[in-house]
Symmetry: C2
C-alpha cells in the first residue's frame, strides 16, 4: 500500500523526549574528521593498541572454548558475581573498602549506568546539578529523561563548593526538585581538572546538609600521572553517593563493561531497570573482563597507559605553551585525556571549526558540553589517541587557525578571561563564571566524546 | 556522617516510573528453581551447548588477536556496518528483500531495541496494543515507559484481526493515544502460536486503514519445525512496520546482539536514543557475530537447533497428551520454545507454584504475561533447555501436582475453557476471551523469560 511519502510520516507521534534529540552538526563533520590527513584532537578514544592484543585474544578464545556454554548464555541482570567481586577490589584502590558485590550492578559501559540512575530518579522537569562544562554523554542522558540541567561552575580545583551551595539555595527558592548532583571529580571530561582533597569533604558535607544525592562518575580515577588515586567521594559517604565506574579507559571500551555501586535499595531498582532495558549485560564481555583481572597484569597495564598519556599530555601542553597566541588559556590536567581551552578575544570555537578542519585539525567545540548554549569560546582538546608528533602538528595547525581568526577579527578588541587558570603567555585574571540552564543536545562528532 | 538508617532513605525521590517496578515473587523462587533436582520448564534459555564451542572460541580469539584494536575500541552508535549488511542477508530469509544496512540499528539484544522504540514513541499514558498474553520483557519495557497496555486476544492462528480492529475503535472512542501494536507473529512467547498467512495481510491492512504503527518482534522466526520461514509483516509494509531481530535464539544470547530495522527517520531517532543509553553496542560481540555469519555454517546450525527443539517439543506434547488430567488444555507450537497451558477447573497457577516447586518442577505462572492480572489459570512451559527425558519427568511431576490440586478442589465444579485449541483429553469448546488493562510488572524468575 504505497502512500505519498512525506518527509517523516511519523513526525506527529514521537514522544516528547524525542523532539529534544538533535543530530549534532559536529557528527556531520565526522567523515571529514576521520580522514587520515586530519589530526583529530576531538575523539576520546583510548589507546587500546597499547594492550597486549595477542594475550587478550588467546585469553578470550580460551574462555569460550573452556566455558562456552556460560559465556554464550544469558546471565543475571545484575551481572556476573565473580566480576562484581573483582570490581570491589578495583574500587578499593580509591579508598572504597566497604563495598559489597551485592551493591554492584554491571552495566553496558558506565553510560548505561548513568542512564539507569537517571531513569530511576528523574521525572520530566526535575533538576540535575552538573559541572559547567559537563560530559556530553551525561547531558544526552539528562535530556532524554527530560530533566533540566543547572550548571555549577568549576575552577582549577574542580567544582566550587560555594557555588554548589548557592545553586542548591536558588533551586530551593525556585521550588525546583533537585534529584542529584552529577560530578566527575577526577580528570574531568572536558575540564581536565580534579576536585581537590578539601573540596571533596566540603561537597560531602554539603550533600549531607542539603540531603543531596551525589552521582560520582569516575572513569578516569586510576589514570593520574603524578600521584596515587584520590579518595573517592563514595569512600566518604556510602549512603548519599552513587558511584559509576568503567573499564573503558583502564582496559577496553569495546567490551562496554561498566558498573554502578549503590545502596541496596537503589541497587534493587537499578536491576529492575536494567532488566527492562537490556535483560542482562553481555556474558562474554563480563567474563573477559573478570578473566583479564584474574590473569593479566592489569595494574602494570594501567601504569603503561598513564605513561603513554602523560607523554601525550606533555606534548600537548608544551606545544600549547610554545605556540598559542596571547589571550588563549587552558587547563593543565595531571591525569585523564583532556585539556579545556579558552580562545582569546571572544572567538567562537564552533564558527571556527570548519576552518580548523580545512587546516586539518579537529577539536570539539565547547558548546557541546553545556546544556544552555554556553561554551562558545571554549574547546576540548583530547590527547589520548594521537601520537605526540601528531599532537604537536595538530596544535601547530590549531594555533595558526586561531591566529588567522584573530587577524580577521582584529577590529574587535574584547579582552576576556575565564575561571580556569590561564597558562597562555599573557598574565591572566580570574573571574568566576556561573553557567546555568536547560537542555540542548549538541554532541561531539561520534559517541566517543 | 552516619544517620539513623531508614528502610530506604531515598524512597521519596524516585521517578514515577520507578514506583511501578516490582520485584517478582517468582524471582524469589529462582534459587530454588535452579537446584539440580528441579526440572525447570520455566526459563527461556536457548540450548547453547549445541554450538561448536571450540570453533566459536578460536574464531573469537583470532578476531581479537587479528584485529584487536577494533574489537576492543568504541564503535559507532548505529553498529558495525559489516554486521548490518549481514543482518540484511538474514532478514531476506523472511522475505525482507528491500532492507538497507542504513536502516538497521544494532542493539544490546532485541530487548534494547524494544526499549529504544518505546522510548522514542511513548509518553506516559500512551497506549500500546499487545497480544494477550504477551512477552514479559515487553511488558517490563512498557511499564518503564509508563505506557498503558491494552491486550488483544489471540487464538491458534495468532492475533485476531477483528479483535485488533475492535480495540482500535474502542481506543479511538476513549480518546486514547495508541502509539503502536506490539506483536510477536512467530512461535509466540508465551503463546506458542503463529500468525497465519491470511491474518498477516489482514493486520497490515488494518494498520494501513487505521494509520497504526506495528512493532514486529521476531526472535524465533527461523526456528520453525516443519516449514520455511513465513513472510514477515515488514516484508509487506516497509513504512508502517518496525522490525526487531535477535541472534539470541539462532546463535547466542550471551553476546547480546539484536537489531531494529526501521524507516530512516525513525532509525535516526533510534541512533540518538541508543547513543544516550549505551554510547554504542559492544564491538567485540558485534564482530563475533559478523565473523560467525561469515565463516561458520550458521544455516546448518539453525537446522540443528530446530531439530533439537522439535524433539523437545515432541517430548512435551506427547507427555502432556498422555498425562494431563481432563480439562487441561494447551497450544501445539510448530516452532520456537513455548507451550501455553490452561489449567482445568479454574485452578490458579500462581497459588499452585510452591507445590510444584516442592514436587521439583517449575513453570512460569500466566499472570506474568498480562499487564492486567489476567492469566491466573495459565502457565508457560518452556521446552528449549531441558533434555527430552527431563521434560517427560517434569510433565509427569506437573500432572501429579495438578491432579492433587484437583482433588483438593474437588468440591468446586467449575468448567472453563479458553480461546486456544484444547488438545487435552476432554472435548473442548471455544470461547474468545478479551483481556484488557493497565500495567503490572510481574516477572519471571530471571530475566531470561
Ligand atoms: C566522564 C565520562 N563518563 C562516562 C563515560 C562513558 O564511558 P563508558 O565507555 O564506560 O560508557 C565517559 C566516556 O568518555 C566519560 O568521559
Ligand atoms: C518475544 C521476545 N522478544 C524479545 C526477546 C529478547 O531477546 P534478546 O535476547 O534479543 O534481548 C525475547 C527473549 O526471550 C522474546 O521471547
Amino acid at each position: 500500500m504505497p502512500r505519498h511519502p512525506r518527509l517523516d510520516p511519523l513526525a506527529d507521534r514521537y514522544a516528547a523526549r524525542t523532539h529534544g534529540m538533535k543530530t549534532s552538526e559536529i557528527r556531520a563533520l565526522f567523515s571529514v574528521v576521520s580522514r587520515p590527513e586530519v589530526v583529530s584532537l576531538a575523539g576520546g578514544m583510548p589507546a587500546v593498541t597499547a594492550l597486549p592484543l595477542d594475550a587478550v585474544g588467546s585469553m578470550i578464545g580460551e574462555l569460550v572454548s573452556g566455558m562456552g556454554a556460560q559465556t554464550l548464555q544469558y546471565g543475571s541482570g545484575q551481572g556476573d558475581p565473580r566480576l562484581r567481586e573483582r570490581i570491589c577490589d578495583v574500587m578499593a584502590l580509591e579508598g572504597i573498602t566497604d563495598a559489597s558485590p551485592s551493591e554492584v550492578v554491571v552495566t553496558v559501559g558506565s553510560q548505561q549506568g548513568l542512564d539507569l540512575v537517571t531513569r530511576v530518579f528523574c521525572d520530566p522537569g526535575d533538576v540535575v546539578l552538573a559541572e559547567g562544562p559537563s560530559y556530553v554523554g551525561a547531558l544526552g542522558v539528562f535530556q532524554a529523561a527530560e530533566a533540566r540541567v543547572r550548571h555549577v561552575p568549576m575552577d582549577d580545583d574542580g567544582l566550587i563548593p560555594e557555588a554548589l551551595e548557592q545553586a542548591l539555595l536558588e533551586c530551593r527558592a525556585n521550588g525546583d526538585r533537585v534529584k542529584f548532583l552529577y560530578t566527575v571529580p577526577n580528570y574531568h571530561n572536558p575540564g581536565g581538572v580534579t576536585l581537590s582533597e578539601p573540596r571533596r569533604q566540603a561537597i560531602v558535607d554539603i550533600a549531607d546538609r542539603y540531603d543531596l544525592l551525589v552521582i560520582e562518575d569516575n572513569p578516569y580515577g586510576l589514570l593520574g600521572f603524578d600521584r596515587e588515586p584520590m579518595r573517592a567521594l563514595r569512600a566518604r559517604d556510602a549512603q548519599r553517593v552513587v558511584y559509576l565506574g568503567s573499564f573503558s579507559k583502564t582496559f577496553s571500551p569495546g567490551l562496554r563493561v561498566g558498573w554502578v555501586l549503590a545502596p541496596l535499595a537503589v541497587r534493587e531498582k537499578l536491576v529492575l531497570a536494567t532488566e527492562a532495558q537490556v535483560l542482562c549485560p553481555p556474558s562474554l564481555t563480563q567474563y573477559a573482563v573478570a578473566r583479564y583481572l584474574d590473569t593479566q597484569p592489569w595494574r602494570e597495564q594501567i601504569k603503561l597507559f598513564t605513561e603513554l598519556y602523560r607523554e601525550r599530555r606533555d606534548a600537548t601542553l608544551e606545544s600549547l605553551d610554545a605556540l598559542m597566541p596571547p589571550g588563549t588559556t587552558w587547563t593543565r590536567p595531571d591525569g585523564g585525556f583532556y585539556v579545556w581551552l579558552k580562545l582569546p578575544n571572544g572567538l567562537d570555537s564552533k564558527l571556527m571549526q570548519p576552518r580548523a578542519v580545512n587546516a586539518h585539525v579537529a577539536y570539539v567545540p565547547g558548546i557541546g558540553f553545556y546544556a544552555d548554549g554556553s561554551g562558545r569560546e571554549h574547546m576540548r582538546l583530547s590527547y589520548c589517541y594521537p601520537e605526540p608528533d601528531q599532537i604537536r602538528e595538530g596544535v601547530r595547525r590549531l594555533a595558526r587557525v586561531i591566529e588567522a581568526e584573530l587577524d580577521l577579527h582584529s577590529t574587535f578588541d574584547a579582552v576576556d578571561t575565564g575561571s580556569f587558570r590561564a597558562v597562555g603567555r599573557p598574565v591572566p585574571t580570574h573571574t568566576a563564571e556561573t553557567l546555568v540552564g536547560p537542555a540542548n543536545s549538541d554532541r561531539s562528532e561520534d559517541p566517543r566524546a
